[in-house]
Amino acid sequence: MDFALTQDQRMMQESLVRTLADASPLDRVRRFADDRGDTGADVWRALAEFGLAGVVIPEEHGGLGLTLLDAALASEALGAAVAPVPFMGAVLAPIALMRGGSAAQQAQWLPKLARGEITAAVAISESVAGARDGAGVTATNGKLNGKALFVPGGVAAGLLIVADTAGELHLTPGEALDSSGRTLMPGIDETRRLAELTFDDTPAEPLCGGPELLAALRDAAWVLIAADSLGAGQAMLEKAVAYAKERRQFDRVIGSFQAVKHMCAEMAAELEPCRSLVWYAAYAFDNAPPGVSGEASLMAAHAKALTSEVGRFVARTATEVHGGMGITDLLGLHFWFKRLGLNRQLLGGPERVREIAARLQGLSV
């Protein structure tokens, strides 16, 4: 038994952290957040050079051929840096293609994705988090109709993977949906661009796999979001600890007051177990037998739900440790606060996800 990261995985993560410090420091994130015309292309290019665009794409298609666990470690680093990049689609679309795409579809799309020439987005929100405002996509005779909401990276994606209301998945080339069919949904977290997609007899190709593939995409997405929250939460904890060791009041650093220390200890005590759960959930996904895996789904659900709860606690507590500075734009702590706020709701808030966890175990009908 070996419940630890490999040397390669640690080195990859450390080196990604350094790459992000260069390519996406806070002032770069801030420019992206302030300007909706900024596509962040330079940041994504740097990460594509690093290999992130093809992290789970097999080597024969130009990717790194790594696992969801590796992608989760990358996601953790991206969350820690609040990086403004369309990473979820870069992992989920290849999984959809590898599990549900034809050889021709794989050959057509995977190399382009791996090179970072185009980005991908996956529209599964209605199937996972529920349909709002009449959203939902139907597919007939190779045409999609209807709306998909809350699609991360959907504004600029060159490849769309879309779930219909029957749980089947479809592939739509980006050029089939022009800008009139893609509307930005401005949200709290300006480092992530969510889109509303409107399909109007939009041509699409079916993928195989149906609800099983949809469940796999959901599970992988939950693990990635959980890892992103873990990274964002860890970053907030580290900032709070550093601030508490430096800020002086009443002639002492505030980190020597137990009231403040205990807030930090509580954050650490809640966050640290999340790390092991995220690792295990990714591992369970990577090693699941073919077909529907209750174990992988259950672990992904718990990872998503627990990091959502802990994320909220850490976001609030770390902000409080910073005192008044915590709520200023100048400090920029709010970028992490908002990232955690988005991650909590995206693809299902914890209450909804836990209900799915109960259902997976036959504890709910």
Binding site: M1, D2, F3, A4, L5, T6, L69, V241, A244, K245, R252, V253, G255, S256, F257, Q258, K261, H262, C264, A265, E266, A268, A269, E272, P273, C274, R275, S276, L277, W279, Y280, Y283, N287, M299, H302, A305, L306, E309, E351, R354, E355, A357, A358, L363, S364
Partner: protein, 392 residues
């Protein structure tokens, strides 16, 4: 990450499973029929006292954390009682192995492992709780002996114990941490009085112990005079690990799930209530996370890598989760949950209520939650200690 089992480990698992299957009748209902006999059988098979050398009455296996885990898992799966686990076995024996003299090891370890000697631990005092090093029970030299006077509190099993391992102040002029010795005392020595300490559970799980000129030979010191603080600290970590054991918490979670599936209100299973179901799922997520945190610690121990915070949170989280499991069980049972003692409507012998109260004691004992948070923030996060107030 690789959690697949090697053929050697799979064979070992089958062996443990076979052992338990063959002896199912010995532990019907989850408790051993003959506690001492069960303990002897476990030691002989290597499922208790596994790594204690044969010369001292153990099984004599090389430490193998994976096999230990397999044993734990299979015993939980079979609902079989583990070996005895009093403070003698879990704390004194490791201490003697680490710092005891050869004579002490031979004399005490074997009978302790076999359950023939029950021990109690004399650490806390009325004036030395979280600030344990402030203990005042004094041992004054008198020829080849010490005369011990003072009192101890929170001494579980003192009423049933034949022996006590105890921290006493032997060097009153030395610094706080350096004047303490770790001594072994027979409980029938004249001058010892044990008074049960009744707690909120209605039981007396703890005692107070009073010493008046209790004579023990100086040879009863373990690990050297004035070294008691360091001797005790080598084993306190065993206690904290034991108090947060994720396997035990998982076993309780499973019992709670079973309760919520089978118990009904208005003809509907408790699990059908969405609020209770959600609380159960919240706890399951946290318990799974602590379980995998435990696997991570095992691996780190095997590879001798530092783990820092992952180890420091075990006691805090484990005790909290146990307490919350009991709280949920009581809430889900509703009015049935307030029943205690006996009566036809009582569920699970009132165990959930008892746990709810007793586990609060465990959140406080063995280093309070607040002391744990000091440890996490100081050792784990590198935050400064609270400055000592200037002496007026």
């Amino acid at each position: 990450m690789d959690l697949t089992e090697t053929p050697e480990m799979a064979a070992f698992r089958a062996e443990v499973r076979g052992f338990l299957a063959a002896r199912r009748d010995d532990f019907a209902g989850g408790a051993a029929k003959d506690v001492l006999g069960w303990q002897r059988a476990l030691i002989a098979a290597g499922y208790a006292a596994r790594t204690i050398p044969k010369a001292y009455g153990g099984y004599g296996a090389e430490p193998d954390i994976l096999k230990s885990r397999i044993i734990a898992e299979e015993f939980i799966a079979a609902g079989a009682p583990r070996g005895m686990s009093g403070q003698g076995i879990s704390m004194l024996v490791p201490t003697l192995l680490e710092v005891g003299s050869e004579e002490q090891k031979i004399r005490w370890i074997g009978p302790t492992l076999r359950g023939e000697i029950i021990w109690c631990q004399g650490y806390s005092e009325p004036g030395a709780g979280s600030d344990l090093a402030n203990l005042q029970t004094k041992a004054v030299e008198d020829g080849d002996d010490f005369l011990i006077s003072g009192s101890k509190i929170w001494t579980s099993t003192a009423h049933a114990a034949q022996m006590m391992f105890c921290l006493v102040r032997t060097e009153p002029r030395a610094a706080k941490h350096e004047g303490i010795s770790y001594v072994i005392i027979p409980m029938d020595t004249p001058g010892i009085e044990v008074r049960p300490l009744k707690t909120m559970t209605g039981g007396s799980e703890f005692n107070e112990v009073f010493f008046t000129d209790v004579r023990v030979p100086q040879s009863a010191v373990v690990g050297g005079r004035g070294r008691g603080w360091f001797v005790a600290n080598t084993t306190l970590k065993h206690e904290r690990g034991m108090l947060g054991d994720p396997n035990a918490t998982e076993a309780r979670l499973n019992a709670l799930i079973e309760l919520m599936k089978t118990e009904t209100v208005d003809g509907e299973a408790l699990i059908a209530n969405p609020i209770f179901r959600d609380r159960l799922m919240q706890l399951q997520g946290r318990i799974l996370a602590m379980k995998f945190n435990g696997l991570r610690l095992i691996t780190a121990q095997l590879t001798q890598e530092p783990v820092g915070i992952a180890a420091l949170i075990v006691k805090l989280q484990g005790c909290e989760l146990n307490h919350q499991l009991a709280a949920l069980a009581i809430d889900a049972l509703g009015e049935l949950g307030i029943l205690y003692s006996d009566g036809p409507h009582l569920r699970a012998q009132g165990r959930w209520q008892w746990n709810y109260m007793f586990d609060l004691g465990l959140i406080i004992g063995g280093g309070t939650a607040q002391i744990q948070k000091n440890i996490i923030s100081e050792r784990g996060l590198g935050m400064p200690r609270e400055p000592k107030p200037a002496v007026a």
